[in-house]
């Protein structure tokens, strides 16, 4: 599961969903993988305002990745003066699109429920008493 997706996922339980503690899900015992994909500058530019940067910082710290800048990168920084993709954009692409959690657990900060991740697919099926 890409870090981009992780920035949108919340706990699936109804009681958790509206609470701030249920987002982001905290990765535990996570195994990471890096797969190179084609750069899509327009997509990143589209998604950037929707990212929760604080959650992004929490997750990267928990995964032991290098620290992120304090603020969301500004849209102007994504391209250099001559229209080429800048280093910021390349870093964002590697972080959001290329880095993925292959296996481990995602833990809800509110109820403590653990969602297992196997082969990059998270299991969000809940037993009926927890729905």
């Amino acid at each position: 599961m890409k870090l981009l997706t992780l920035n949108f996922l919340t706990c699936a339980r109804k009681t958790c969903k509206s609470l701030p503690a249920a987002f982001p899900l905290h990765p535990r015992e996570a195994e990471l993988e890096q797969v190179e994909t084609d750069m899509n500058a327009a997509l990143i530019k589209n998604i950037l305002p929707r990212l929760e940067w604080d959650a992004m910082k929490t997750v990267t710290t928990e995964l032991g990745l290098p620290n992120l800048p304090a603020e969301t990168p500004a849209p102007e920084d994504l391209a250099t003066a001559d229209g080429e993709p800048s280093q910021t954009l390349k870093d964002l692409h590697v972080l959001l699109m290329d880095t993925a959690v292959v296996s481990g657990k995602l833990v809800c900060g509110n109820c403590g429920h653990e969602y297992a991740v196997k082969e990059g697919i998270a299991n969000f099926l809940l037993p009926s008493h927890m729905v």
Binding site: M1, K2, L4, T5, F8, L9, T10, C11, A12, K14, K17, F23, T37, N40, A42, L43, N46, I47, R50, E52, M97, A100, E119, G120, I121, A122, N123, F124, L125, L126, S128, V131
Partner: protein, 274 residues
């Protein structure tokens, strides 16, 4: 033709054998591709977007989302949800680009508010009309799903869900659940009244009338049930007309009031006195 929905729940029906059959059948592949392209046409995305694929299965529809060319506003990134682990295993074998979750859409959509630009669903939501255990109902599952979907789409976002309703009742149950969740909803039928009819539920979050999504398309007739009703009401409601007076009199009579009996002079215009 038998409906798989009537035989087994989706996670059991799509076992390893069925999933492989479904994914390798060129006939199914073609139909799925056609429907995905039609859904993309309805979504009318101008720039690369983040799309939720509901019931993504083995990623047949997702592949098409990743393959949209740059001139047509692609390629899009997508996140898929499916309840069948065998189907997802097929998707892993085929190396699709999107992220996938093993999740039951009837339990809600586990994303924070405003996550997605659009959502797409090919041949999936009719499964919600079956409740497999006594503690859930089809209405409850539909409500959880549409409420979750409504929240996870951004404002102005659109969703297109192609589905196979069993009968008219199921069709209205699904569309009413969507309207209740707050969507602007419309149903588009391709090849109506043939065996190959395809039903698309088009949903919008805020941002104008749902009929606007097909305004630029050729060969689409719009039947608007809302507008017709409003018009008919107006004709009835001409205040002071004979029909209006008779209706009011009947209303008062039903309340138990003393009402003058109606005659041929009731509600008749007086002659203009010169």
């Amino acid at each position: 033709m038998s409906r798989p929905e009537d035989t087994l729940p989706p996670d059991l029906f799509y076992n390893d054998v069925e999933s492989r059959k479904y994914t390798t059948s060129s006939r199914i592949k073609n139909i799925q591709a056609d429907m995905t392209n039609r859904a993309l046409e309805l979504l009318d995305l101008k720039e690369p977007s983040l799309i939720l694929d509901i019931g993504c299965g083995s990623g047949l529809s997702g592949e098409i989302l990743s393959d949209v060319s740059e001139d047509e506003g692609g390629p899009h990134a997508w996140v898929g949800m499916d309840i069948s682990s065998s189907m997802l295993a097929q998707a892993l074998d085929r190396d699709v680009e999107g992220d996938m979750l093993l999740a039951d859409i009837g339990q809600g959509v586990p994303f924070r508010a405003g996550s997605f630009d659009a959502a797409i669903s090919i041949s999936a939501i009719q499964w919600l009309c079956n409740a497999e255990t006594a503690d859930v109902s089809p209405e409850g599952r539909l409500k959880r799903f549409f409420d979750g979907l409504y929240a996870s789409l951004k404002r102005g976002g659109k969703a297109v869900c192609q589905f196979y309703p069993k009968n008219a009742q199921q069709r209205s149950m699904i569309s009413n659940a969507a309207i209740k969740a707050g969507f602007g909803a419309g149903i588009l039928e391709d090849d109506p009244e043939t065996k190959n009819v395809k039903v698309y539920l088009v949903l919008t979050v805020g941002g104008g009338d749902v009929t606007g999504t097909v305004s630029g398309m050729n060969g689409v007739d719009v039947y608007d049930a809302r507008r017709k009703e409003r018009k008919r009401g107006k004709e009835f409601e001409k205040k002071g007309s004979k029909a209006w007076i008779l209706r009011k009199k009947a209303q008062m009579e039903a309340k138990g009031k003393v009402v003058k009996s109606s005659s041929r002079y009731t509600g008749r215009k007086r002659r203009v006195a010169f």
